[in-house]
């Protein structure tokens, strides 16, 4: 059974159609790149999967269930925003995650913070934007979730941290869990992806495995993206 399934998924904001009649299945055990230009509906799709948004029509299920507290317990979501409470310390956020998520692995979080040279006792208020993003990613990746939804996970961090983060993404998830990474920085994440979904103006343009793209198009994902979405 796929971890995520969307059927006729449509989301409208007033007159604007953000997603239009999307049919999609995301299998388990894969790393999927959700790729598209700005405003293509990537974030809307992820927000629908997290339950932050409710579809206008159609349906989306995670592990067979509509978004709700059961699916929230198995989805680990990294938004494009910094959602940390400014007044807390990194270790307070770790305690917070440990309290609310049963699948949170504290040891993993401590180790990752140490690797990234972040002091757990530091206040989030005093941290730079990039450091906060790292803390947030550490929290999200320290869960043993079924599905990770990462919205622009590497946009704000330096290249060295980028490599570390990508490495944690590919090594940290369970065998039958899936990771969806939404980004437009394709070249940076290309080497970790198994599958890609090209999305534009709320519609799926292409779904494929990365191997297929390399074989049939004889191109990198980045090259194909530039071709498909040529302005």
């Amino acid at each position: 059974m796929p971890i995520l399934r969307a059927k006729g998924l449509t989301k409208k904001f007033g007159n604007l159609t953000a997603l239009s009649n999307l049919d999609l299945e995301i299998p388990r055990g894969r790393i999927i790149g959700l790729l598209g230009p700005n405003g293509s509906g990537k974030s809307t799709f992820i927000k629908l999967a997290t339950g932050l948004l409710v579809p206008t029509s159609g349906e989306i299920t995670i592990g067979g269930a509509a978004p709700g507290i059961e699916t929230k317990a198995m989805v680990s979501y990294l938004p494009e925003r910094t959602y940390l409470n400014d007044w807390m310390r990194a270790e307070d956020m770790i305690a917070f995650f440990g309290d609310f998520y049963e699948d949170f692995n504290r040891i993993k979080a401590d180790n990752m913070l140490r690797d990234l040279n972040i002091n757990p006792g530091d206040r989030l208020k005093t941290m730079s934007k990039g450091t906060k993003e790292k803390v947030q990613l550490v929290l999200v990746m320290s869960r043993d979730a079924e599905l990770y939804l990462l919205d622009e996970p590497i946009a704000g961090v330096d290249p060295a941290a980028r490599d570390y983060i990508l490495n944690t993404i590919i090594t940290n998830y369970k065998e039958n869990a899936s990771v969806v990474i939404s980004t437009h920085l394709i070249a940076d994440i290309e080497q970790v992806l198994d599958d890609i979904i090209f999305i534009s103006q709320g519609e799926i343009k292409l779904t494929s495995t990365v191997d297929e793209i390399r074989e049939t198009h004889n191109k990198s994902v980045d090259g194909l993206f530039r071709e498909v979405f040529k302005c």
Binding site: E70, K72, P79, D99, F100, Y101
Partner: protein, 273 residues
């Protein structure tokens, strides 16, 4: 999960309040001491004044400033915790927790109610401490006794039930006031721009609607013969009770409506920036 939410809500709010409550305690003690020195005998206030009059004046002014600041801060925290924690970037965290939306609202409400209560009690206790000595405990208990026996004589029953009913009305009224702020903010976030203005607009509109409904009620009520009840002397107590409990009931209905609407909007029409 509700308990965990409450724990973090108390943690998040306590650090804002603690300095002010600490200041209240310190100022109560200082003012009390100065009162004691400047006016040792409440009955025989010396006409030439005391050299402690100025410090006492300053201390008193600060004391009342702190009390006003506490009340204002309580209101601000109630608004700010709901808006900032749920409807700005922090909302991305709160609404993806494996927790039902109604529990998020309830946790904010309970802690808001708690601080309102703490504020009221703290101010009452502090004023009592300042007053004691000038008014003796004996005078107060005497006053209460006079009130009780007077009430007993007039109506033939103890006022305890009435007092309890009145307290219930006050609590329900505070809950309704807090939820009215929540529902206005929830409506405000439906707009993609000028959300805070929209929330203010929503608040004013709701107040207007409630005013109109209340006016309508005062027109309708006489039809049910309440006036006859008021006119008959023996039933005065009954009339007061009907009024109090009627208001409580109306408040409970508004509380239910506000809670339902807030929950519906945050669950189905969440519109985080």
């Amino acid at each position: 999960m509700l308990v965990k939410l409450l724990k973090y809500e108390v943690k998040a709010t306590a650090r804002t309040f603690l300095p002010l409550y600490l200041a209240l305690v310190v100022l109560t003690i200082i003012t009390k001491l100065l009162l004691f020195i400047a006016i040792p005998d409440a009955v025989l206030v010396s006409t030439e004044g005391s050299k402690f009059d100025i410090p006492l004046g300053i201390s008193m002014t600060l004391y009342f400033t702190i009390i006003i600041a506490l009340s204002v801060l309580t209101l601000i925290v109630i608004i700010q915790r709901f808006y900032k924690n749920l409807l700005t970037d922090e909302g991305y965290l709160m609404f993806t927790l494996p927790v039902q939306t109604w529990k998020l609202i309830l946790s904010k409400l309970i802690v808001g109610l708690m601080w309102t209560f703490v504020c009221g009690v703290a101010v009452a206790v502090s004023i009592f401490i300042l007053a004691i000595g000038n008014i003796s405990v004996m005078e107060i208990t005497q006053g209460i006794n006079v009130f009780y026996s007077g009430f007993q004589n007039q109506f033939g029953v103890s006022p305890n039930i009435l007092i309890v009913e009145f307290i219930i009305l006050m609590i329900v009224d505070i809950v309704a006031s807090i939820l009215m702020i929540y529902v206005a903010i929830a409506i405000g976030q439906l707009f993609s721009q000028h959300r805070i203005m929209a929330a203010f607009g929503a608040y004013i509109s709701i107040s207007l609607v409630i005013q109109i409904l209340a006016t309508l009620l005062t027109v309708i009520i006489p039809i049910f013969g309440i006036e006859n009840l008021i006119n008959s002397q023996t039933n005065q107590l009954k009339v007061i009770e009907i009024m109090i409990n009627g208001l409580t009931l109306l408040n409970i209905i508004t509380v239910a409506a506000f809670y339902f609407i807030t929950n519906y909007i945050l669950k189905n029409r969440l519109n985080l920036e």
